[in-house]
Structure formats: structure tokens, C-alpha cells
Amino acid sequence: MNADPHLTPKKKRMTLQASLPLIGVGVGILLIIGPFLAGLIRSLLLWVGNDPQVSLANYSWLLTDTRIRTAALNSLICGLGAMSVSLVLGTSLAWIVSRTNVPGRETLRTLNLIPFFFSPYVGAIGWIFLIAPYSGLMQTSLGSLLGVSFEGPNIYSLAGVIWILSLFYTPYVYLFVISPLQRMDAAFEDAARVHGASFWTTIRLVTLPLLQPGLLSAALIVFVTSAGLFDVPLALTATKGIRTMPTEVFALVRYPSDLGRAAAFGIFITAITIVLTLWQRAHLSKRRYEIISGKGYKPRVIELRTTGTLIALAIEVLYLLTSVVLPVLALVLVALSPLWTGRFNPATATLANFSYVLFDYSLTRQAILNSLFLAVTGATLGVMLSGLQSYYLIRVRSGFKSFIDAILALPLGIPGIVLSLFFLIFAIRTPLYGTLAILLIAYIARFFPFATRTISAMLSAIHPELEESARANGATWAQTMRFVLLPLLRPALIAAWIMLFIIFIRELGASILLYASGTETISIAMLLLSENSVGYVAALALIQLVLLLTGFSLFRLTKVSAIQ
């Protein structure tokens, strides 16, 4: 019997399969290399009168200026501090909810993730209202109780920055270690115990070393993100003249500005990032081991006694209070007050701040629309781009893959303000300057690696035969994508989309140098409103939180881990 002659499949262009993923990779590389080159060229130019000259003056300034050295040292302290605290806190929280029988651990597992979706900048503002010297809610309420006025801890310090960063980056560590903790073969730990190791010795010599790849990745990402974050130091330490690398970049761009020096500084920061990323890759590729045997063992769950349960619950409750409940409560009280004086007066409570921000002030309305537009469009384009890149990285045979993978992961470590500085230099003489498009491009360039990682992880778990069987059964590449791969990838695509949406809604560092009148975002509006009334700022911050929490709830529905 012969095949039905009329059933021969339709011919399609065969170039699509080869070209589309390459386009995704090419665009991704352009988004990184383009602005980087613009920054590099600008950093090597020095204007003498009207003539630019090639010079290393900006770099020699960089190496000799003591202020830069102080800023770099402070950022290093912030990075290391936040990294250490969140490693301890994140691992403890993950261990508590995955390896003990603490009551309510299913719920806690989800609650621990909420700070991941919060904006650290909003958290910092909330904490200022909570414990600003003499005038925070803690000082005023305790003070009126005891009849004294006292200063309290100093939030306007590097310690304050580390505290805020740790609260909001703890979930990064948590996400990196909870999955290996949940799936780790209990036999590894059992073997240590039966051969004579105590509980703590087992943790130290077996459990933690087995978690090392996850811990290392988490440590690096928390370190570079903390050291490069612009908004928290802006809110906390700028008033005390404490410099950090990102705030110093910001200061260099402001009038009387020196883009050359700023660019040199940005290139320097990028170089550090590249070195760190390469080191991590080399280190991880050396020691890769399987901690999941695949035999379906369940990890050992520790039966906590009363003291243990109380301690575990106390850690959980304290973390959720300090990261979510207290700062949000402070924001609510401030947002409800017509004039914030450090004390909440229920008698004068009003929704005026909300109605002003939502209905009366055109800038915030525009900013909310802009942020929604940027988040929706940016997440959509970003997921498309990342999907193509993931396809290239997982499915296409190529000798350059690990190199390309390393390049495409670079933006993870480049501070938003540095990338937007490069984009500013890149775009300032083009029609892109001052448009939403340049913000959109910068957002995507800075954050697409998050989406690429999520999608790649799921794609590598999908058996290639599922696509091959479609091809062999007569589907073109495009049909295979449409009917087989995209539906299978859908959870990861949605998860990546929501993650980008959330990041874009709260983004400040990449926006601050690129916005223009009419292209303000929510976070920019918050900054502008702080010249106006803290009540407005608090109201807008809460509106932003509602958007972020909506994203978070949707994210939980996809059941895909945020970090792979």
C-alpha cells in the first residue's frame, strides 16, 4: 500500500528553524555589546574644547580618586554583608520549611517568597517610617509608652542598607537551596549518621557541601545585585554622605555632569562582573554532582521538639514581620495620614493621598500607565527573545554554546544604573532618546537572562523526541513549535513573563537616567513625589505593591520555580 498522494505535507521555508533562534541570540548579544561598546568608546574620549581626543585620563582618574575608592569599598561592604546575612537566613528558612515538621510549613513555603516580589526601594521607605531616628513609628510608640524620646538604631547607615538588602534578597538564597533540600536523597545524610556523625556535623560535612553549587550561585547573585543596587542606598545613605558605586555613577551623570568619567566607572564595574561570572562558571563546571539519586527517596524530615518548634516558628514569624508586615503597615499608616508627623492619628485618617495619586495627579496616572505598558510589552518581547535563545542553547548543536551562554548571562551582574548609563550614551543623539522605547530596550537588555534561565531549565527537561516525533509525523518546524513545543513550554513561558512583569513594574535603577517628561514610571514617580509629600509616596508605593502581589499570586499558579 502506498501513502495517500494527496497527503504529502505542505512545503515550508526550511530557513526558519535555523534563523529564528540565531536571531534571538544575535539580538541578545547586540543588546549587551552595543551599549557596552558605546560606554567603552565614551570612556576613552576626552573633550578638549570642541574636539574629542582619545585618552586614558578617565581611567587614571578612576584609579586615583579617593571618593571612588570609598564608594567601591562601601559597595563591597554592602554586597558582602547582604550576601552573608541572606545566605544564613535563606538557608535556615529553606531548611525549616523543607526538612522539619514545623506546623504550617506548606503555607510558610509560599509566604517566604513574598519578599522576592517586593521592591527593596519600597521596603527601605517603609523601614524609614518604622525606625527613623527619634521619629520612626517604633520610637514614637515606644517613646509615648515610656515617656521618653530616644534615637534607636541608625537606619541611615551601611548597616541599614545591608539590613534592607538582606531582607529582600534572602528569598534568592531560599529559592536556590530549597529545591535541592527537598529532593536530596536522605541516604547521603543517613550514611553520615550511621557512620557516627552528629546532627550538626552531618549538616556541616554533608548537607551544606552538597548544597554548595546552589549556595555559590545564590551568593554570587546576591553579592552583585546588592553591590549594584541604586535605590536602597539612595533612600538610606545618601543623606549621610555615604557613597556607593551606583549612587556615585548617578552623581557623575548629574549637572555639572561628566559622562566620560561615569562611563569609565561603568566599564570598570562591568569588568568586575565579567571576572566574577567567569570565575563562578569555571568553579561550578569543575564540581558538578548529582544529589538526587532518582530512586524516589524522601528526604529525612526532622521531628522538632517544643523548643525547636518555637525557635523555628520565631525565625519564620520575625522574617515575615520584618520583611513584609511591618514595612507595609508603616506605609499604610503614612498613606492614610494627611500630614505625617511620626505618629498616626486615626481621627484624621483619609484616603486623600490615594485619590490624589490615582485620580488627580496626571503624572502618576501617566506613570502607572507607562509602567504597565513597559511591563506588559517588555515581558512579552523579553519572553519571545528568551524563548528563542533557550531554544538555541538547549536544542541547536553549536560549538560556541558555552561562550554564548556566558555572554547572554552577563546582564545578570551588571547594575541597572550602569547599563542605563551605557544606553544613555548610546541613545542620546538618536531619536530614541526620551522615548518609552529606550526604557523598554534597556529593561529587556538588563533582565532577559532571568527569563532565559527559567525557559532553558524547562526546555532541557522536555524530551527532544516529543518534537522529533512531530517532525517525523509530518509537521513542519513551525507547526512543531506551535502544536508541540510551545504548549509544553507554556508554564515556563508564563512564569518567565510574570517574573519580567514584576521586575519591570518596580524597576528604578535602569529608568533613572533614561526617563523624560511623559515617560515616567511608577518608581520614578515615587522619587518625584518625594519632593512633594511622603503621603503620596506611601500611597503610590502601596499601589505598586498591589500590582506586584497580583503578579505574585499569578506566579504561584504556574508552579514553576522562579530561579532554576
Binding site: Y134, T140, G241, R254, D360, L363, I428, T430, E531
Partner: protein, 365 residues
């Protein structure tokens, strides 16, 4: 294309209408006391502004609520419909200069009009041709101010001025002094803020003036008492309101005025040694996207009507000849003030950078 075509027909019709029916024009407050030639020219500008449809302006002081009042007064001053939009951006002086400098070098000016508390920059930019030459009829009332070095006839002049001077919360801090010296002596260490010269162009300008009257040692003493550096006037007022600080040396009269209207009891004083007067220089950009709307705005903001709103809502000190302040406690009449003399036109950006570096070396070594 089509829309522009219809718009120009509309403009022509309006111009004709304006010329033929002077009765319509008489309804517009702006045309009060004008002769026929002036009125015709005004109506032509209004028609062109209507065709432009919008105005973008930026200011470093005016609160959005004040802007709402200004915009509705502006519309009724010229008989503009609500469809005429006024886009307002509130920026700090430094942020505005940074933005404007970037827009100038990108050759993409998005603002029509700006008002900024950085006279040095304004004089420099006027010389490079960044501003439109438009000699508003209102300039007649600002000749004294121009003579005092607070404007260039036909290019820019102040729409008001203010000072960054000590403020305190009378509910928390009992202060009766009269001078900068008294204030520094009275305030407890670590419990006061000063303007952040690095973050804020207007605080730098203030420092450049004060530095001449008070001397370096005064600031060295100040540094020893561990101040907090605040760039935003709202934040310094907020810290006074909550009791975080006892005094803000870089306080802003309009914040005092606005907070007190909401029930606070803040106080301000103009020190005996004198103070740096910060003129809010206002001008039209040479490449403004809506030049006709911009001209209307300048006419309006410098008028008695505009000045009254700015004084009433923002506590700005008017330099308009014969203007009487509605709130003399907070914004005294211009003629009664002891202002430190600074020649802004001669002071260069390079000199300002020197003052900034000096400030940094004193407060933040």
C-alpha cells in the same frame, strides 16, 4: 498632514474672528487695558497656541496642586478650553539641568518653558542661545529686578524667588534666635539637616552666596555638629515635622506655608547676616515645541494674577514692581529683604564646582 491642514484653516478662522469681533476678545482677562493692535497680536498668539494644543513646562518649586490652580487660571485668562493641555514636570534644579542639558545635546527639547533656581546656569545658557527672545509686555514690571542682576531683558527674568533658610517645628523646638550664628549654637549635634550641595544645584547656589557672608569657619563649626545632608526640601520639612531633626538650615518657605496650612506649626526666619536669594529664572527654550503657548504662559506667570497665585500657594517672593505679599511673615515683600549680593552673571559653572568641592572637603572629607 490632513490634521495640520484643518488646523491651519482653524487658525485662520480664529485670527479672522479675533480681528472682526473685538467684543469676544474683551471677555478675556488677558486683554484688559490693551489697545487694538496689542489685542490683535494677542489673539493671534492665542489662536496659534490653540493650534499647538499643549504646553510642557517644568519648575523646581511649584507643587502639582498649585499647578492645577495655575492651569485653570491660565485657561480662563486666555479663554482656552479644557482640551488645551498643560503638562507639568516637577524636578529638582540639578535633575532639571541634567535633563535639559541632555535634551539640548540630543537636540530634542521636550519642554517649552522652565523655571529654575540656578542663576549661574541660566546666564550661561542664555549666552549660548538656548532661550527664545521674547520680550513680554510684563517685563515692564521687572526692570528693577533686571537691573539688580536677576534677569536679561527679553530672555529671562525671575517669576519669583525664595530662600533656603532655617526652619523649625515650634511644637518640638523652642528657638528665639535672630541669626545663623544663634541657630547653629542652639541646635543639638546630629539633630539638624543642611542642604546637600552635591545632590542639589539650588543648595550649591545657596552655599556659594552664604559662604561669602558667613566665612568658611562657620561651616567648619557646622560640620563638627554632624548634620544630615538633604537634597529635597520636602524631606527636610518632613524630618522637622516628625522630630527627626530640630532644625533644617536649608528649609524652604513654601514647605512651611503648606505644612502649616495642614495644621503643622513650623516657623521660618530670615537671618540678620542676610541670605542667598534664589531667583526662579523663567524662560522659553529656543527650540520649544509649542512656542506660542509658551509666550502666553510667560505673560501669564509674570502678571499680577500669576504672581498672586505663586505667592499664595508657594510662598514665592515676587519681584514685580508694586506687588504686595499676601503672606508677609513667610514671604516678605521683595524691597524689605536683606539679600547677600552675588553677581550671578559673572559666576561661572567652574566657580560653582570649586564651591562644591570646598563644601565636600568641609563636610564630607
Amino acid at each position: 498632514m490632513k490634521i495640520a491642514h484643518f488646523a491651519s484653516i482653524g487658525v485662520a478662522a480664529l485670527v479672522l474672528g479675533g480681528a472682526i469681533c473685538p467684543a469676544v476678545a474683551q471677555d478675556i482677562p488677558a486683554a484688559k487695558g490693551m489697545n487694538d493692535i496689542e489685542r490683535a497680536s494677542l489673539m493671534q498668539t492665542i489662536a496659534a497656541a490653540k493650534a499647538e494644543g499643549a504646553l510642557n513646562y517644568s519648575d523646581t518649586i511649584i507643587q502639582p496642586t498649585t499647578n492645577d490652580v495655575l492651569v485653570s487660571a491660565f485657561r480662563s485668562y486666555y479663554g482656552l478650553a479644557n482640551t488645551f493641555t498643560v503638562n507639568y514636570t516637577l524636578l529638582t534644579s540639578g535633575a532639571m539641568i541634567t535633563r535639559v542639558e541632555q535634551e539640548l545635546s540630543a537636540n530634542r527639547i521636550t519642554f517649552d518653558v522652565a523655571a529654575i533656581g540656578s542663576p549661574t546656569w541660566t546666564f550661561e545658557r542664555q549666552k549660548t542661545g538656548a532661550f527664545l527672545n521674547y520680550r513680554s509686555g510684563q517685563y515692564d514690571f521687572y526692570q528693577d529686578a533686571i537691573k539688580a542682576g536677576l534677569g536679561v531683558d527679553g530672555y529671562f527674568v525671575l517669576n519669583g524667588g525664595y530662600a533656603q533658610i532655617p526652619i523649625w517645628n515650634t511644637e518640638i523646638f523652642d528657638f528665639k534666635g535672630k541669626s545663623y550664628k544663634d541657630a547653629l549654637a542652639a541646635v543639638p549635634a546630629g539633630r539638624f539637616s543642611i542642604g546637600d550641595v552635591v545632590q542639589s544645584e539650588s543648595h550649591l547656589t545657596t552655599y556659594a552666596g552664604l559662604r561669602q557672608a558667613l566665612g568658611v569657619d562657620y561651616f567648619k563649626d557646622m560640620a563638627r555638629k554632624k548634620p544630615t545632608f538633604v537634597g529635597r526640601s520636602e524631606l527636610s520639612a518632613q524630618r522637622i515635622l516628625t522630630g527627626q531633626d530640630m532644625m533644617a538650615f536649608g528649609g524652604n518657605p513654601s514647605r512651611v506655608h503648606q505644612s502649616n496650612q495642614k495644621g503643622a506649626k513650623l516657623k521660618i526666619f530670615y537671618p540678620e547676616e542676610g541670605f542667598t536669594f534664589l531667583p526662579q529664572m523663567t524662560f522659553i527654550f529656543a527650540k520649544a515645541p509649542h512656542p506660542n503657548a509658551a509666550k502666553l504662559w510667560i505673560d501669564f506667570i509674570l502678571s499680577e494674577t500669576g504672581q498672586k497665585i505663586l505667592a499664595d500657594k508657594e510662598a514665592l517672593i515676587s519681584a514685580r514692581a508694586g506687588f504686595q505679599s499676601p503672606i508677609p511673615d513667610i514671604a516678605p515683600n521683595f524691597s524689605s529683604l536683606k539679600i547677600i549680593k552675588v553677581d550671578w552673571e559673572k559666576m561661572s559653572a567652574q566657580e560653582l564646582i570649586k564651591y562644591r568641592d570646598e563644601w565636600v572637603s568641609i563636610f564630607n572629607p
